[in-house]
Amino acid sequence: MFSFKDELKKYEPAMLIEDMEDSIYSEDFRDMFELMQYIANNKSKPRTSRDKE
């Protein structure tokens, strides 16, 4: 027997067409390759005094 309250919490409002544009602009489109590249680039850079702080 499941709880209806908990079950209801799983339902979220679906996106409407008018909200689509905001959704595209707000979404982070960086893929895994870009993230890895970003990490790799940051790792290769020497740490600054600000980073140490």
Binding site: F4, L8, I17, M20, M32, F33, E34, A40
Partner: protein, 481 residues
């Protein structure tokens, strides 16, 4: 191979000769993305939409340029009823890869069916509203919204799931079951629906997806067998009688007529109602128009019309009064000239109720001086007409005499001659009524005996024969007293 950083194209190696980027990582991620896309495609082919969304989302997360995966993701979203999510994926896809036209085609198709798109969006709106109602414990209202939502978009999986939950919350598992089954038909491995199904039918071990597949296969076989049987039966029937075609045709005609009746008749009625409504509105506009632009309003026109009518009536009455006064004065002048009969006839029908005292005095003078003598003259004249056989003139003159008569001593005689005149004109019933009036009102009249005889003759049916005789007798003065 194309370097993802500088777009340099090279044949082999793991480092780009152009910018020196290590592309091993890139190749790895691209392969993972493709594998995820393959899995997603497989799920989509098996109608496991939830699984497909899971794989394809991961695929585009690993490689955002995997437009095939993104396009398919959009398609799966669309199939699930999430039209905005689908649009988002296709918009992104068409922007990331301008060469790939698939996403643009999808978008174009949707734009062409703007009405359908709007309906799907409305379905989502209703679904969101239903969630709000559910949170406020208004399951009934939520269910109404959800039913409307699935009528707008019959593939809206989440709406079916929520409708099932709604019914389950009300303790109506029987009503929830069709919704769950519909979800499992659209999305065979939908975890929410599977959970609900277990809740509705506890102890069921067979997964609904497998169940549905088996059922579908059985159904296909069954359908084929049934079709074969039907065809053989049809052929048999056709050979012997050939009636089913006629019955089908008649059925078709009836159905067409019913559809036409159901579609055309209401439209006609609607048109008529619209016309009536338009006319009513126009009338109301006229009535409610307040003449704001300087012109006269409807109400003002009505009141002005009533005023004018009363004014016209007033003028008519004044003219009538003037005519009366003019006639009285004319009659007075005729009296002065000794033309009593003409003077009497001129004023005999005048109504003196609205005359001034002065005019009434003149009227009375003329009346008193003329009526008696005029009546006598008219009586003689009428009798002469009768004797001459000129019944029409006799009738008119004797009636005028009756109007003016003041001396009742010869009224019986006048009535008697009116009776004779009517007899002469063939108006027997009128003649009888005159004779009866002579006998009842003027029994001592000089013509009472003649009236009785004439009445007897008419009643015995010999009146017409004796009419000329009576006329000649009267002219000879045999019976006239």
């Amino acid at each position: 191979m194309k370097c993802p950083v500088c777009s340099y194209i090279f044949k082999s190696g793991n480092v780009c000769p152009g910018c020196g980027t290590d592309i091993v990582l890139y190749n790895k991620t691209r392969n993972i993305s493709d594998k995820l896309y393959n899995s997603g495609l497989k799920c989509a082919g098996e109608r496991d939409l939830t699984g497909a969304i899971e794989y394809l989302s991961r695929s585009v997360m690993v490689n955002k340029f995997n437009t095939k995966a993104r396009n398919l993701l959009g398609l799966v979203y669309f199939e699930k009823g999430l039209v905005a999510n689908a649009l988002r994926e296709w918009v992104v896809s068409s922007n990331l890869d301008k060469k790939d036209k698939t996403a643009s085609e999808y978008l174009e198709k949707l734009q062409k069916n703007a009405r359908e798109l709007e309906k799907m969006n409305d379905a989502i709106r209703l679904y969101n509203l239903a969630i709000q109602y559910m949170n406020q414990h208004s399951e009934d209202l939520a269910l109404i919204q959800l039913k409307k939502a699935v009528s707008y978009n019959p593939k809206f999986v989440d709406a079916y799931n929520l409708a099932a939950l709604c019914n389950m919350a009300n303790g109506n598992n029987t009503a929830a079951e069709p919704f769950v089954k519909r979800v499992l038909y659209l999305d065979k491995k939908n975890p929410t629906a599977l959970r609900y199904l277990q809740e509705i039918t506890p102890g069921s071990k067979v997964t609904p997806a497998a169940d549905l597949n088996t059922k579908t296969e059985d159904t296909v076989d069954e359908i084929k067998a049934r079709r074969k049987r039907r065809m053989s039966y049809k052929n048999l029937e056709k050979g012997i009688i050939g009636k089913p075609e006629i019955i089908s045709f008649a059925g078709g005609v009836i159905c067409t007529a019913a559809v036409l009746f159901a579609l055309v008749f209401p439209t006609m009625l609607e048109n008529k109602s619209k016309e009536i409504y338009d006319l009513k509105t126009t009338l109301e506009n006229y009535q409610s128009y307040n003449g704001a632009d300087g012109t006269v309003s409807y109400d003002e026109l009505v009141s002005e019309n009533a005023d004018l009518k009363s004014e016209v009536d007033k003028y008519k009455n004044a003219v009538a009064l003037q005519t009366k006064i003019g006639n009285i004065n004319k009659a007075y002048a005729l009296l002065a000239n000794g033309k009593n009969k003409e003077a009497a006839l001129l004023i005999k029908d005048i109504d003196i109720s609205d005359l001034s005292d002065e005019d009434i005095a003149i009227y009375d003078t003329v009346r008193e001086s003329t009526f008696a003598s005029a009546a006598e003259d008219l009586f003689s004249e009428g009798k002469m007409y009768y004797l001459a056989g000129n019944y029409e003139n006799a009738k008119t003159t004797l009636n005028e005499c009756l109007d003016l008569i003041t001396d009742e001593s010869y009224t019986g005689e006048v009535l008697y001659y009116l009776g004779k005149t009517s007899e002469g004109l063939g108006e027997t019933a009128t003649a009888i009524s005159y004779y009866e009036k002579v006998l009842s009102d003027y029994p001592n009249s000089a013509q009472a005996v003649n009236a009785q005889n004439s009445l007897d003759n008419l009643r015995s049916g010999t009146g017409t024969q004796n009419s000329s005789q009576t006329s000649s007798q009267t002219s000879n003065g045999d019976n006239e007293q």
